[in-house]
């Protein structure tokens, strides 16, 4: 003990304080480094969105001058876009297709997912494997005969080819729901069955309410899937302008008469807005859905 003179102790103390300060300083530098990297990356990710918004607020002349800030702000663009092209009609069409499609997907995917995860029966594994492999099947292989079926039914052009298939289950949604249903303990079902609950009631009254997060995830994915869909409308509704969705309309934009470049960005901004708003309110559901299955929509 005698070796630790007060001087020596003070020295040790100063030393360790110095070390602690150095460590803190180091951590601070790390934090600054990390955050500046993250801010830089964020700026890159945000840049295109920022540019859409600012260009959408520029006048026709200014939009072609590579400017980065509107001068003056032409708020009128957002009114003009509704008169320059039938933007409202496109929006309503897209909304209709997406909403009906979402209802169809949810209603037709919950029951198969339920029997695949909560009941024991012969052939269950095989059925599940078939569902998984249809998820991997390229759509091009079935596209032409399906098109021929719809054309024989005289459903082209109409919304029917876009919404009817959603009422016959989506492999992706079944997969996501099944993953979630499997995580609900079996005891819950057993308890209900002992009380004489029918299987249908058990599904609707107990499992479905418990699986709300998963069901909202598939509803969101289905909604955004049809909202963002381009290929389906391109095949089935392009011939009738009254049926055009936002994607088809926007793509045809430049070919339409008297439509200026800045209007294109205004329309793009309006097309993106609902998706971005939905995302901000339901981020958690999304990210969990992607993580649960490893795929989006």
């Amino acid at each position: 003990m005698s070796t630790y003179t007060p001087e020596k102790l003070a020295e040790i103390d100063a030393h360790s304080r110095k070390a602690r300060r150095a460590k803190k300083w180091n951590q601070f530098l790390h934090m600054v480094g990390n955050h500046s990297l993250l801010i830089g990356l964020s700026a890159i990710f945000i840049l295109p969105l920022y540019l859409v918004v600012v260009i959408s607020l520029m006048s026709k002349g200014q939009a072609e001058t590579r400017s980065l800030w509107p001068h003056p702000f032409v708020w009128h663009n957002y009114i003009e876009v509704f008169t320059a092209v039938p933007f409202l009609k496109w929006t309503l069409n897209t909304l209709f297709v997406s909403l009906v499609g979402t209802i169809g997907t949810v209603v037709s995917s919950v029951p198969p997912a339920y029997v695949l995860s909560r009941l024991q029966w012969k052939g269950r594994q095989t059925t599940f494997l078939v569902i998984l492999s249809t998820m991997m099947l390229p759509g091009q292989v079935t596209m032409i005969p399906v098109y021929i079926i719809f054309s024989r039914l005289h459903w082209i052009p109409s919304f029917l080819p876009l919404i009817v298939p959603s009422f016959f289950s989506s492999a992706f949604s079944i997969f996501l729901l099944r993953q979630f249903f499997t995580s609900i303990p079996d005891e819950i079902s057993d308890a209900a069955r002992i009380d004489g609950c029918s299987e249908f009631k058990l599904m609707m009254r107990i499992i479905v309410p418990l699986a709300k997060p998963a069901i909202s995830a598939i509803a969101l994915f289905a909604f955004l899937g049809s909202w963002n869909d381009f290929f389906g409308p391109l095949l089935y509704i392009v011939e009738n302008q009254d049926l055009w969705t936002l994607g088809i309309g926007l793509n045809a934009f430049q070919g339409l008469h008297h439509v200026d470049k800045n209007m294109m960005m205004t329309a793009s901004a309006l097309f993106m807005a609902p998706v971005i708003i939905i995302f901000f309110f339901s981020q958690k559901v999304f990210i969990e859905g992607v993580t649960l299955t490893g795929v989006k929509g």
Binding site: S109, W121, V141, I144, P165, F279, F280
Partner: protein
């Protein structure tokens, strides 16, 4: 199983009692069938029948109006020996997948890894990084062709401002248009990034702590801990990337419509199928193209599956044994 467990907590159970044999639950066959029926209908009419039908049509000449005419292997012969557009589309598709699949994976790992760094505030950055992947493909592509336009888009002005004197013409230049599409894909990295992020957060911190005690550098712990544990995710994204790249359509179609892509630099395999089927109305030929696509995709997937033993590391044993 669980019924006997209910029995175990029953107040009537005396010591030494043997639990009565569990009453076997009746499998509600009708209920199962009814629940599966939408899916069954769907798989018969929208998957199984179309597959058989398109397989048959791939050996026929069929223009949607007349009845299909059997032509044997003509379609396949034409594809490989007479159709320049087929080779062009295939070359473009292979080129863009060979570059964009590895690039996407690296960028996804990088962005996810950066997100794990800060102690606070990472959820804001995560939202920003994920957001672009939500943007509708048509709107995103139109935005990119606009802002990357050499004449009136601001991107090249920004590039000049940071010292790049002669930035490329991007979508307007056949040599650079695919790079524009690759950038567009990287911008929408969000969903892939989230999968990697989930993987990174699953790595036990004790491993990193042990490595730090052993004196491992940041790069070493990334190379020998993070990367091996990420291989299942890398494997998964490679497989889905290959499947996806042969179906790459919307962005390329919209972009080439915006800039009049006369040299077909953005003409990909899925575009070729679309034009053959719905512009030329050669349904038989398009079906043959689709089946070749399926075979190519399956072969690629099988090759990747074969190699996985060598580089994919499953902590709890393989998923595909």
């Amino acid at each position: 199983m669980s019924l006997t467990r209910v029995n175990a907590i029953s107040p009537f159970k005396k010591k030494g009692d043997i639990a009565p044999p569990r009453k076997k639950l009746k499998v509600p066959r009708l209920f199962i069938f009814l629940c599966l029926s939408p899916w069954l209908f769907g798989i018969i009419f929208f998957t199984a029948y179309p597959m058989v039908s398109s397989f048959y049509q791939s050996f026929t000449k069929f223009n949607l109006i007349e009845t299909p005419q059997w032509v044997g292997l003509d379609n396949f012969h034409r594809m490989f020996f007479e159709d320049d557009d087929f080779w062009k589309a295939l070359k473009n598709t292979v080129w863009i997948s060979a570059i964009s699949i590895p690039l996407r994976i690296c960028f996804a790992i990088f962005t996810a890894w950066v997100l794990t760094k800060p102690k606070r505030g990472s959820s804001i950055y995560r939202t920003i990084f994920f957001l672009p992947s939500m943007v509708p493909a048509v709107a995103a592509t139109m935005t990119f062709t606009y802002i990357f336009n050499p004449a009136y888009g601001p991107i090249n002005k920004l590039l000049q401002a940071i010292g790049i004197k002669e930035p490329p013409f991007w979508f307007m230049d056949p040599a650079w248009s695919k790079w524009g599409l690759i950038l567009l894909g990287l911008w929408g990295i969000g969903d892939t990034m989230i999968i990697f992020l989930a993987g990174l957060l699953d790595v036990p911190t004790s491993l990193y702590e042990a490595a730090e005690l052993e004196g491992a550098s940041g790069w070493q712990s990334f190379r020998y801990i993070t990367l091996p544990l990420m291989t299942p995710v890398i494997f998964f994204s490679t497989v889905t990337g290959v499947i996806g790249s042969f179906q790459y359509f919307t962005q390329a179609y919209v972009a080439s419509g915006q800039v009049n892509d006369y040299s077909h630099s953005m003409y990909f395999y899925a575009t070729h199928i679309y034009y053959s089927a719905f512009k030329a109305y050669e349904m038989g030929y398009a079906s043959a193209l689709a089946w070749v696509l399926l075979v190519i995709t399956l072969l690629c997937t099988l090759i990747i599956l074969k190699t996985q033993k060598r580089w994919v590391h499953y902590p709890n044993g393989s998923l595909f044994k």
